[in-house]
């Protein structure tokens, strides 16, 4: 390697993007405002796909039947994120979970909350794959029609 210390040239790019949520995506987000998690059912394989979407990726046909799914479900898997990067939405540590919502045939991604994260090992013992979780919604007047209208899913005990 050379003796000269290389010059580091810096550049901060700010590139504004504005993506359309699409017709189906818009309705899916608006329904979140209404406190409803919506899916669409594939007429061929009959699976209920969440988030609601325009077509079934496996059967490749339009999915036009809208179905409301439960806001309770089973925790399929999770992780406790404990590292930083630019523009991260939450400060670590935080829990991300994949949830099998009641009535849906694919899983759902969101945060898991109301778990003490002061000790990661301890927290991991509190969480169990297969445990029941329940969505905690923002109060209706605070909802904006985005994925954070659900604040997180909390572990619940069910009889």
């Amino acid at each position: 390697m050379s003796e000269t210390k290389p010059k580091i040239v810096k550049w901060d790019m700010h590139l504004p993007y504005r993506w359309s949520a699409g017709i189906v995506g818009t309705r899916w987000l608006e329904e979140l405002k209404n406190g409803r998690i919506m899916g669409t059912r594939c007429p061929k394989c009959k699976r209920v796909l969440v988030p609601a979407r325009k077509f079934c990726p496996r059967c490749f046909v339009d999915t036009t039947e809208w179905v409301q799914v439960g806001d309770k479900g089973t925790l399929r898997t999770y992780t406790i994120v404990n590292f930083n990067f630019t523009d991260q939405v939450k400060n670590p540590p935080y829990i991300v979970g994949i949830i099998d919502l009641d009535g849906a045939d694919v899983s759902f991604t969101h945060f898991i909350g109301e778990v003490d994260l002061s000790n990661i090992e301890k927290a991991s013992k509190e969480l169990r794959l297969g445990m029941r979780v329940q969505a905690v919604w923002k109060p209706p007047e605070k909802r904006e029609g985005n994925i954070f209208d659900i604040e997180y899913f909390k572990p619940i005990k069910e009889e």
Binding site: M13, W19, G22, K54, R58, F60
Partner: protein, 381 residues
């Protein structure tokens, strides 16, 4: 070159509100589904899907991940070619020629309305140590090219403006086109200067759109049609990187690409043997310059053949009956749309923009400032 058949093409209506309102993902689904519906091809029968988009032009890293299953690629072999969808077409041809695949979809999408401007996104083609600091972009380099051309051959502003007038007027015949209007040379010259001497109406704008093409082997083509369109020749090439390293008037990469494609297609006299050309003209001067490098006329004669009407709809070698890129420019998808339009001409399915008696059509695409990279595709019966 072995045989590759172009069986069907689909595209979105690039100027329609629906196209701007939908997501990139759903636009891909639309063009692919339409292709399946039109041909009767099932997803099972597709062996591979070559997609094309650009992460910067979509604002998403690994942009094909986002629309992968929308392209019908669930459990399929589907790579992504970046920046230039004509190259995705070319790659798909190679996959078929290898004998490993019989049916290949080529799909591309870009929504310019969702992303920063062409000026911003072509500005970052330039290296961060040297050229980027001058705020160069696609149009400023085209302007440099224009200055060189005007200086050498003395072509007027009015003559350049005729390219816009021709193409946007041609687009009135194209229900898929984005910008479709009847302009005068004065209208073009009255528009604001973007990068001297190029004016706003001499420069392409971004569009939203998607396109899909179905390619098959010779054997498989028989299932769909008795008269397939064949890919006769393909060529592609690139220039040096630094603007100062390049001869902007020579456009060597286009000459090399054209030579390669013409050799394969056994085209020795393009002006007579090509019946229609769909070329990529990011700005007016470049259409004039590309005529020369494609061999439609001699050096310095590009303005002349435009002026004489040779490249008009009724002329000897119509160029851009679809309206070209000045009309319709979903940046990455534009290459595939050139090929789709050329294919429609050979198929006789180009509606009001159909040129009569098309046996051989040429499609061309370019990307990179001042035309760094070019690809040429010859289609015919």
């Amino acid at each position: 070159m072995g045989k590759v058949a172009v069986v069907d093409v689909t595209q979105t209506k690039h100027g329609a509100p629906y196209t701007s309102n939908e997501t990139v993902r759903n636009l891909v689904y639309e063009v692919v589904k339409e292709l399946f519906d039109e041909t009767g091809l099932t997803r099972d029968e597709v062996d591979t899907i070559v997609t094309s988009s650009s992460d910067f032009w979509q604002g998403m890293g690994c942009s094909n991940v986002f629309y992968y299953d929308a392209a019908g690629a669930y459990l399929k072999d589907s790579p992504k070619v970046e920046e230039d969808s004509a190259l995705a077409f070319i790659y798909a041809c190679m996959r078929i020629l290898s004998g490993h695949f019989d049916a290949a979809l080529v799909v591309s999408v870009t929504k310019c309305s969702e992303v920063p401007s062409i000026i911003d996104l072509t500005g970052i083609y330039f290296d961060p140590f040297y050229l980027r600091w001058f705020g160069l972009n696609e149009f400023s380099v085209a302007a440099l090219q224009a200055q060189l051309y005007m200086n050498k051959y003395g072509v007027s502003d009015e003559l350049r403006a005729k390219v816009t007038v021709k193409n946007l007027r041609n687009a009135l015949n194209n229900p898929y086109a984005h910008r479709r209007m009847s302009l005068t040379v004065e209208d073009v010259l009255n528009s604001k200067i973007v990068s001297y001497p190029l004016r706003k109406l001499e420069c392409s704008e971004g569009s939203d759109g998607a396109c899909a093409i179905l390619l098959t082997s010779e054997e498989k083509a028989k299932k769909f049609t008795d008269t397939p369109v064949w890919v006769k020749g393909i060529g592609w090439s690139v220039d040096h990187y630094f603007v100062g390293d390049r001869n902007l008037l020579e456009v060597s990469s286009l000459k090399v690409a054209a030579k390669m494609a013409y050799k394969m297609a056994k085209v020795t006299y393009p002006r007579k043997q090509i019946d229609v050309a769909e070329i990529c003209e990011p700005s007016t001067i470049q259409e004039i310059l590309w005529y020369e490098k494609l061999g439609f006329c001699g050096e310095g004669e590009g303005g002349k053949i435009l002026d004489e009407g040779i490249t008009e709809m009724g002329g000897e070698l119509p160029v851009n009956p679809s309206g070209g890129v000045l009309s319709t420019n979903p940046y990455v998808a534009r290459g595939l749309i050139r090929i789709a339009e050329a294919a429609l001409q050979v198929m006789g399915k180009a509606g009001r923009r159909q040129i009569s008696n098309v046996e051989t059509a040429l499609a061309h695409n370019t990307h990179g400032p001042g035309g760094s990279h070019h690809s040429v595709i010859i289609l015919g019966r």
